[in-house]
Amino acid sequence: MSDKLSKNELSPWPHRFAVSLVCATFPLIWVGGLVTTYDAGMAVPDWPSTYGYNLFLYPWQTWLFGPWDLFIEHGHRLLGALVGLITIGFVWSVWRHDSRRWMRGASLAVLGLVLLQGGLGGARVLMDQRQLAMIHGCVGPAFFGFGVALAVMTSNLWRAGITKPQTTPEMAGKLKRLSLTTLILIYVQLVLGAQVRHIPVTASPGTFRILVFFHLLMAIIVTVHIAQVYRSILRIYGSAPALRLPGYALGGLICIQISLGVQTWVVKYGWPAFLTESDFAAGHTINASSLSQSLTVTAHVAVGSLILAFAVMLYTRAARLFRTETTALGSGALMIGLAT
């Protein structure tokens, strides 16, 4: 397995496709989040067709001016199809321009993942299973993270390399381990969040309580880990510009995410009982399906995925910058393993 690239392999196309994949997947996650927020998963009862029409031939007037849940569900399908096409483009460009065998394997893995995700979405509709919607919601961020990893691995930073940060091997090793642990914890937190969000109406109140408890506990654990990551990056501030962006993004996004989490609870269930004597809590009426409610709840989902994306970026960049013989060769394989 070679990690070296010939001149011919310095084509920008794999990276362009990978970045396009990431850019198209993020809105897809938003729209997917809206599908759940508006409970629109079954707005179109058939799949892969839409009310008997080919996906791409469904009358645009009905789509744009029909019911809102149909608009977002069909929009989600169209955007999903676009992501699928970009993935095919990515596979083509990698096989055309990139001779790294593991990268070719990764390109096939991401294609497999997008097919699996599409299939899960279809199965959710055909079987009308909300649990499949939950799994579909968990695979989405994994795909997004995988796309980010591929974007890093096809970038100039990965291929040409940059100056290694001036730090001790212990510090480098710690940062790599910490960023990997943080990445896994964030994904587990997303899965817990998906379970809270997709709780079946037949579930017991006790189950929901346990899920919320673990989601909150994990929020604290993730926040502590991100704070540690942030501190570690500050220590090597001057010599690791490639880690600054994901590190700072994680720090900022976790603050936004915690705030969105609190807001999500308030817009869905109101203020906690101990605040009931406050004027703002006593006078607060929840507005179901309001724009503010939908955007807040969906933003909490989307920012969760964005945090995962930056954690992936941080880990892959750290793995590359502080590479040893084994990590340099194995980080790509690890990302494939994590994603699949």
Partner: protein, 438 residues
């Protein structure tokens, strides 16, 4: 290369195992429940227990199975609701089959693009598929989501023990209930609100019928007599020769409940304006001060006795240890009883005390319009300790202890003025009131 310390290694191992354990739980979780089949209605075990304790009888497993079968025959399932056939009774006005179809079942659209599953989309996460207030989120909410199965609704224009009108339920759905998790569904179109109202009535009538049939089985049917080798009389025995008589009898029970709902519209309390506003008259400042003083007298007086629960300062700190009717059914004040109820399982929650409203805040759960507050005072709040002053209503000039229509309006004026009255510096007449009360 420096080796990690023993402590660091231990911490690393703990972290590894913790992450692995949580990951397994979190990732395995989505798979759980994939085999879940059609949604079902929960049996009202708490009420069965309540009646067993009351009658000292046992509601056998066979009878429970009968009860489920009868209810399923009359009302169908959450996915396929049935409107019970009750002869001449106009059941469709209360629960229309088309509207029930619209609101019931899993969320989605049918082949013709018509919405389905409105109840599960908007209500079931809190109120539960059965309408028992036992949805997944229930334990986090305070107050608990309403259990419809008693047929008791708090904020309505009709008297206590009466059913709410269509408009009452619509008002709650549109306005929501401040300071609770009950949202406003203002964004929903009228036909969806209408379908939800029909479905809530359906769940309520089903729940009331269940309670009624439990009573019927315990009070009307013959229990087993082991000494005489007689088996207990079944609630509904398909092999019995008199099953059509029994079916007719059971339908009568359900019919009586539906009749109460049908009568709700006629029972709404019509509210006339106070005499001082009759014929378009305007209220002078002096008269308003006088009315506030009168309202305050009533608030602290012995007839209305609002002070007893809402407290001397009207901040809701009077009687704070009472329970609402839903909680009282779990006999929270009877030693040992509550444990029996809580042992019934996941849909019976620890009772909470009902808190009288803090009237100084100016936020009222049942609505802030004068007529809303009039209804609360006149009709009370069903299912809670808030009494109805209609019980002591008297005509103007009548010589008996009670309150007149205008007195209630004076109370409404006073209650609405409370958020603007300083507790530390009440109106100038405070000293006089203190003397009177002493």
């Amino acid at each position: 290369m420096e080796l990690p310390t023993r402590k660091a290694m231990k911490l690393s191992v703990i972290r590894h195992w913790f992450v692995s354990a949580v990951a397994v739980v979190a990732l395995a979780g989505p798979m759980a429940g994939c085999s879940r089949n059609e949604a079902t209605f929960n049996r009202n075990e708490a009420y069965v227990k309540n009646q067993e304790r009351l009658t000292k009888e046992t509601f056998s497993a066979e009878r429970k199975a009968d009860l489920d079968e009868v209810l399923s025959g009359l009302f169908g399932t959450p996915d396929r609701p049935i409107v019970p056939a009750l002869g001449d009774i106009d059941v469709a006005s209360v629960m229309d089959a088309t509207k029930l179809h619209f609101a019931a079942g899993p969320v989605g659209r049918d082949e013709r693009g018509r919405a389905r599953g409105l109840y599960r989309e908007h209500c079931a996460h809190c109120h539960g598929v059965t309408g028992d207030g036992g949805g997944p989120t229930a334990l986090f909410l305070n107050p608990y989501p309403r259990d419809y199965r008693r047929g008791t609704f708090k904020f309505k224009s009709t008297p206590r023990q009466s059913k709410p009108t269509h408009e009452d339920l619509k008002r709650i759905l549109i306005e929501g209930i401040p300071d609770t998790a009950m949202p406003s569904f203002r964004a929903l179109p009228d036909n969806e609100i209408d379908a939800l109202i029909h479905y809530v009535r359906y769940l309520s009538i089903r729940g009331e019928s269940e309670r009624s049939l439990v009573q019927y089985a315990l009070f009307e049917l013959e229990p087993a007599d082991e000494e005489a080798n007689i088996e207990e009389e079944r609630l509904f025995d398909l092999t019995s020769g008199n099953r059509s008589d029994r079916a007719a009898e059971l339908r009568e029970y359900v019919g009586a409940i539906v009749q109460k709902w049908l009568g709700a519209e006629a029972e709404a309390t019509a509210v006339a304006p106070p005499s001082w506003l009759a014929n378009g008259a305007e209220l002078s400042h002096e008269r308003e001060v006088e009315l506030l003083k009168h309202g305050r007298d009533l608030f602290y007086g012995k007839v209305a006795a609002c002070v007893k629960c809402h407290g001397d300062s009207a901040i809701g700190d009077g009687q704070t240890t009472d329970y609402d009717d839903w909680a009282k059914e779990l006999e929270p004040t009877v030693p040992g009883a509550l444990d029996e109820y809580l042992a019934l399982g996941r849909f019976v929650f620890p009772p909470r005390n009902v808190r009288p409203r803090n009237l100084r805040m100016g936020h009222y759960r049942g609505g802030r319009k004068p007529v809303d507050i009039y209804w609360r005072i006149f009709n009370g709040i069903d299912g809670t300790p808030m009494p109805a002053l209609s019980e002591v209503l008297k005509q103007e000039g009548e010589e008996k202890i009670g309150v007149t229509h205008d007195d209630i309006w004076a109370l409404v004026y006073y209650v609405r003025s409370l958020p603007y009255e300083s507790i530390s510096q009440p109106v100038a007449v405070e000293a006089a009131y203190q003397r009177e009360r002493q």
